[in-house]
């Protein structure tokens, strides 16, 4: 019998370890266009201690370990590129502590966004976390491991900026805490201790995050979405600049798509407007719609497309079924807001070349400090030709991001390489040193952010 498998069974129990073809198949694929990469084992630990044991085992046996949350990142980031153990973290899903007055919650990293949203809604309806637009089965840990952003990105930035503390199992097996929790205080801040957190944005290649203290924000009672529409994409940067100056919206997203036809070439800005009272709502609307936007309405270049639409939380996405084909993948990028028009135009060109109706979107991060701009490509899983087109479109888009002065967000290995090829060589060497220092045996999600020179 396989010794690693035996050891895994011993650590997590028989039900939660596998080396059977069915599990290996299942964990070899993600939802996007990536080619399958088979793990040799699958394990689903329940505690940080179990994770630790698995890491120690992996070091001893020199087998890779690839952490997996919801597996929703689409870019093959949690596929075992070099085999090894696919570590499904979703059993680590407890809410450990919620400090209402200090507005933070400590959770296990494998908890789903949906569970946290439902919990807050039920027990603390006046608190919320910044929820990504991903399917709610996506985990909190996976999201911050790739610098995700959610529906509070405009006021508060990246989700990974909302981390107050972490517990991490290092690639060498030590369980480490970061932030105020490391000195035995509450989990309320990451600063002002020296910055040694080297885990955010690393796709799990520097350690496995097991606990996270996440900032919560005031959740207003009334939550509605208004839409503003323009035809000229060139107006979007100015509009976003003006709207972020007013600062009355919770989430600002500019988007357009080829389908349905009425969207085609019409740029929509959705504004989440929230308040505890009707007066607060109207106050915010007045500042936004009758203030900064009035000029556009009166000269006929912009219009109020809808008001008071319900906001879904969690969001439901049907993007994968556009082609009745069960698949889509997108390139995300962090871009200056000024790049919107070019991103849209060039993206629509790529889509047209690949016969995929274009779908683009830019979510404002901070006071328009940047936006997460994404290009989605739908494909039909049963039709390899459409998968190939989508994959090519994704690659072209990765290059486009860099050409337009952007940074690829949650890049697949292809995009990681594009960026590392351009990266300042000292920075690159620093990355390499960090990785080697933390992960001397190179077992953690190998292939990701790997500096080869």
């Amino acid at each position: 019998m396989d010794a690693v498998y035996q050891a895994l069974v011993k650590i997590v129990g028989e039900d939660y370890a596998s080396n059977r073809p069915e599990e290996l198949f299942t964990y070899s694929k993600d939802l996007g266009t990536s080619e399958p990469k088979f793990p040799d084992y699958v394990a689903a630990p329940k505690t940080a201690e179990e994770v630790q044991k698995i890491i120690l085992l992996a070091n001893k046996k020199k087998v890779p370990v690839v952490p997996l949350g919801g597996g929703m990142s689409l870019a093959g980031l949690a596929l075992p590129l070099q085999g090894g153990i696919a570590l499904d973290l979703k059993r680590m899903d407890q809410i450990i502590e919620l400090n209402e007055k200090a507005r933070y919650v400590v959770v296990e990293a494998g908890i789903s966004n949906g569970k946290l949203t439902a919990y807050l809604h039920k027990h603390y309806p006046h608190l919320m976390h910044s929820e990504p637009g991903a399917p709610p089965a996506a985990t909190i840990g996976g999201n911050i491991a790739i610098h995700g952003q959610g529906d509070m990105a405009h006021p508060y930035g990246f989700n990974s900026d909302m981390v107050n503390g972490m517990e991490v199992v290092l690639p060498t097996g030590e369980i480490c805490k970061f932030g105020s929790c490391s000195i035995g205080s509450g989990w309320y801040t990451l600063h002002p201790l020296p910055d040694i957190g080297l885990f955010l944005g690393w796709n799990g290649s520097t350690g496995i995050i097991t606990k996270i203290s996440l900032r919560l924000f005031p959740c207003k009672k009334i939550r509605e979405m208004d839409l503003f529409v323009v035809e000229d994409e060139g107006l979007i940067p100015d509009l976003l600049y003006e709207l972020t100056h007013v600062g009355m919206a919770e989430d600002l997203i500019a988007f357009t798509s080829a389908i349905p036809p009425f969207m085609d070439g019409v740029h929509h800005i959705s504004m989440n407007i929230t308040g505890d009272t009707e007066e607060e709502m109207e106050f915010k609307r007045h500042l936004l719609l009758d203030g900064k936007l009035a000029r556009y309405i009166q000269d006929g270049t912009g219009g109020i497309g809808a008001v008071s639409q319900d906001i879904q939380r969690p969001q439901i996405s049907k993007s994968a079924d556009w082609k009745k084909g069960g698949g889509f993948e997108y390139v995300g990028s962090i871009m200056p807001v000024t790049a919107y028009p070019e991103c849209y135009r060039r993206g629509a060109e790529i889509s047209t070349r690949h016969n995929i109706p274009y779908t683009v979107l830019g979510r404002v991060i901070g006071s328009a400090h940047a936006m997460m701009f994404s290009w989605s490509y739908a494909f039909n899983r049963a039709d390899p030709e459409t998968v190939r087109h989508a994959r090519e479109a994704l690659h072209e888009t990765d290059s486009l991001v860099l050409e337009l002065g952007g940074t690829i967000w949650k890049p697949a290995v292809f995009g990681q390489k594009l960026m590392m090829d351009r990266m300042d060589s000292n920075t690159l060497q620093m990355m390499k040193k960090v990785k080697n220092l933390l992960d001397p045996n190179g077992i953690m999600n190998p292939g990701n952010w790997e500096v080869n020179e």
Binding site: S18, P21, E22, T26, P136, A137, A320, D321, N380, R381
Partner: protein
């Protein structure tokens, strides 16, 4: 080998594996697919199962006992159908059943599934107990056999054979007598309704069962049927008409709810108890009746009805559907759905966990014991609560 005959080759690739289907209606947690709740590996989630089925029918994966176990772990509870936002969602369970059809055809089945089906074939029930003993449950009651009464009271296999479920079968019999309902039972002549046979993909056997039942019902002049089990209710209501067996079918809670409305069951005792109700999938999500059982409970004096976090459309299945009450693929762990459900019921502070299905009754009673909650919480069928 590819399975070209597989009925859903044109849509099975449309599952994105996005996992909405893991949740209940209120997004409480990812464990509302009972099979996924039990094993927590992606392969056991609805999406994982569909992807595996697709790989198998495409010839990417060979059949193994484990693959069959994953497929048969689906309790046919329809939570995925409820939650999947994509337009093919109505077909999810059918896609799983169709895979079972293929496995049946090839004779590649997990051992307990095989014996379930074999027992039905030989004895008309999954337990493999002689058909002669089918009427034992009614000994000592005044329940009569069917001969032209208004209703046929169809008891089903669990109610006929399982000692715990027999109590519910008797309680319901007594209640109907008390209310003056004109009904009779088939006794030894009753055979399985076929619902689980269908859910397990044995279409040939299903046809045989259905036709046999229809023939018998027609010969006896049955027009209206009351069922103890929502599984039977579903079979008679949704499967039999396809075989030209059209009867007026009622789940017993629908009859009771009506009787109580008409005050024909008025001298029921007052029960000062807090009660929570567990929705059976085949009455709830399959047939959209969430009210009848609740109406019955609410019209009982003294009872305070409290809801579990997950209820109605969002209820967690006890894990007994699709033959799992027998095959027990989902048993044996504190993450067995019935045990999760038992804990959830206890969390409401209820003293009675009310059910309206003999499957749920046995599954949850065992779970409450395994959880050592039996000093706080008792599991009772609604028929039993009324008969107290």
């Amino acid at each position: 080998m590819t399975r070209t005959a597989y009925k859903y080759n044109d849509i099975i690739h449309r599952c994105f594996r996005c996992g909405y289907c893991k949740f209940p209606t209120n997004w409480d947690d990812v464990n509302n697919c009972p099979a996924y709740a039990r094993f927590r590996l992606e392969s056991y989630s609805a999406g994982g199962r569909l992807w595996l089925i697709r790989a198998w029918v495409n010839g990417e994966l060979e059949w193994t006992e484990h693959l069959a176990k994953i497929v048969y772990a689906c309790a046919a509870c329809k939570n995925c159908v409820e939650k999947c936002p994509l337009s093919f969602s109505d077909e999810i369970v059918n896609m799983v059943i169709a895979a079972k059809n293929e496995m049946v055809e090839l004779g590649l089945l997990p051992a307990p599934v095989k014996s379930f089906l074999k027992n039905i074939q030989l004895h008309g029930n999954p337990y493999g107990i002689s058909a002669k003993k089918r009427s034992q449950w009614m000994e000592g009651t005044r329940v009569e056999t069917y001969s032209n009464q208004e209703f046929l009271y169809y008891v089903g296999c669990e109610g006929s054979y399982d000692t715990r479920a027999q109590q519910a079968a008797r309680a319901l019999g007594e209640l109907l007598l008390k209310a003056g309902v004109s009904f009779g039972v088939l006794g030894k002549k009753e055979i399985t309704d076929g619902n689980e046979v269908g859910m397990m993909g044995e279409d040939g056997l299903l046809e045989w069962v259905v036709e046999k039942n229809i023939k018998q019902f027609k010969e006896l002049g049955v027009k209206k049927i009351i069922t103890l089990s929502p599984h039977s209710y579903n079979a008679f209501k949704s499967i039999y008409p396809k075989f030209d067996g059209k009867f007026e079918v009622f789940h017993y809670t629908q009859i009771l709810s009506d009787l109580m409305k008409k005050r024909k069951l008025s001298d029921l005792k007052e029960i000062q108890k807090k009660v929570t109700f567990h929705d059976p999938c085949f009455l709830g999500r399959w047939n959209k009746d969430y009210d009848s059982p609740r109406n019955v409970l609410k019209s009982l004096k003294g009872i305070t009805l409290v809801e579990m976090e997950r209820n109605k459309k969002g209820a967690l299945c006890c894990g007994g559907g699709g033959g799992n009450f027998y095959t027990d693929i989902l048993g044996g762990s504190e993450d067995s759905p019935a045990r999760i459900r038992a804990r959830e019921a206890a969390d409401t502070g209820a003293e009675i966990l009310a059910v309206a299905c003999p499957n749920c009754l046995t599954m949850l009673e065992d779970a409450v014991k395994a959880e050592r909650l039996d000093d706080k919480l008792i599991v009772q069928d609604i028929s039993e609560i009324l008969a107290i």
